[in-house]
Amino acid sequence: MRDVAIIATAQTKHVRAATATNEVEMIQPVIQEVIERSGVGRHDFDFTCSGSSDYLAGQPFSFVMTLDAVAAWPPISESHVEMDGAWALYEAWVKIQTGHADTALVYSYGKSSPGDLPLVLSRMTDPYYEAPLWPTSIDIAALQARAAIQAGVTSEQAMADIAYRSRSSAAANPFAQLQNSAQPSALMDEEYLADPLRKHDCAPITDGGVAIVLAAGDKARALCSRPAWIRGIDHRADGHHLNLRDLTTSPSVSIAAEKAGVANGPIEVAELHTCFTHHEPILRAALGLGDDVEVNPSGGPLAANPMMAAGLLRMVEVANRIHSGEVSRGVAHATGGHALQHNLVAVLEGEG
């Protein structure tokens, strides 16, 4: 295997609605920033890969318009996934492993504000049995939260504590959309949004994006003083139909964690794609994280949730802490689909 590292990152200030800019105007400054930070020439990337969704924009091939921001003429080697950018990173990582690239630009973005996000996400369900019922993302998460509470995996109080802790941590994150929180006791007094979920249990609706640069081996060492090496990366999917799964566990996360080598060393920080508070205890258990492991010091998706970018953002947050020397080993998790269906786990490490 080739050594591959994240050598530079950038992200937007995440907001509820970026009403002035179109998608390419929203993501272009982030792409320009990450390219400048990386030290790789604008026209010198061996591979470019992006993640986004036409369902958010309500436009077919919407990602093509954002290619304007990567100087795609003369023609470049480029690909796109209709998935979170974490999977765009995975594709770029594979491309570098095959030897067809030494550097890669990866970006992803989501403008959720044009549509009604919970309804838009209902289109991810199977078209015959579930989609005609228009279950929103919040409805489905509530089913999972109820199952998790009944199984003793979490409690409404524990979920309020997670919301409080995440948004309090986000106070130190200048890019976060939501910062600070009322005390858990006050959160518990709020009305249900979808029993047992209250508003604080749900990630916000966010417009934003993120970009990273990957480089292999000596190139990464030459361009970055402390690269965040991808020591393990794996992704697995559980069944699509909700009724075929035990929603209180995540076997796909456990397999991906094992393949990525999460347990091969101490984990100092974990950035997890928790779109709802009850995801955290499910993921902690599936990843085998001890109670002492700090989860989502950035605030996580509960503080900023740009669809299609929030998973890649987890890698950025871990990589940033490795770049700065704050930690030496961390785990990043990204998810796609409803109720933690498809999961990617990556272990990032610094050297020395």
């Binding site: 970026a18 009403t19 002035a20 800019t21 179109n22 998608e23 390419v24 105007e25 272009q28 792409i31 320009q32 390219i35 604008r42 369902y55 924009a57 309500g58 318009m65 290619l67 304007d68 921001a69 990567v70 100087a71 795609a72 003429w73 403008k111 504000s113 044009p114 549509g115 009604d116 309804l119 838009v120 289109r123 078209p127 015959y128 989609a131 005609p132």
Partner: protein, 195 residues
């Protein structure tokens, strides 16, 4: 054997059952045995979106309401984009300088449309062309009228024909169509970069 005496395409033989519904084995569900199987479901879906044109396209649309065509220039390559989307696809950098363009243009490519389709308000045949507006570096689509369709060719000089001033809105539909402006054709060598 292929029938070489006919212009009709040879019949294509398909394996049986390609487009038929496979038999459903319901023997395991005895109580459903007498129930008619569901052959298809039709699930209606619609989603409503707000469209954000963005900063550059908003600037363009505000000015087209004043009967002006204003593109934006890439500072690195000097190319002028119309309509502007905010970013130069060659440099990847924002377009910042607004450039007032002419209201005339040149056909760089075209097609004669002979097929009718739902929602099409034009009488066929008609000409849809890629038109390079004077001062722009990328052609836009437009309808060419007031000339027989078989006389349209690359290099043909055109003027834009607009709706009445009282009907101007923030829309490309302000330009009803394009028509010959009487100037001599532009030599094809000058259009090589735009085809």
């Amino acid at each position: 054997m292929t029938d070489t005496t006919s212009n009709e395409p040879a019949p294509i033989e398909l394996p049986a059952g390609v487009w038929s519904q496979p038999e459903v084995d319901m023997t395991a569900v005895a109580e459903l045995g007498s129930v008619e199987a569901v052959q298809s479901v039709r699930a209606f879906a619609s989603l409503t979106y707000d469209y954000t044109p963005g900063l550059a396209t908003t600037r363009f649309l505000r000015l087209i309401q004043e009967k002006r065509l204003v593109g934006e220039r890439c500072e690195e390559t000097g190319k002028v984009y119309l309509p502007p989307r905010g970013v130069s696809p060659v440099s990847g950098l924002p377009t910042t300088e607004q450039v007032e363009l002419g209201l005339d243009g040149t056909v760089v490519s075209f097609c004669v449309v002979n097929l009718d389709f739902t929602g099409n308000a034009q009488e066929i045949p008609y000409v849809s062309a890629l038109i390079l507006v004077d001062g722009a570096d990328i052609p836009i689509y437009g309808l060419v009228r007031e000339i027989p369709y078989n006389e349209v060719q690359p290099g043909l000089r055109l003027k834009s024909v607009w709706v009445e001033d009282s009907e101007l809105t923030t829309s490309f539909e302000n330009i009803k169509w394009w028509a010959p402006n009487g100037e001599p054709d532009v030599p094809s060598s000058e259009l090589a970069d735009y085809i």
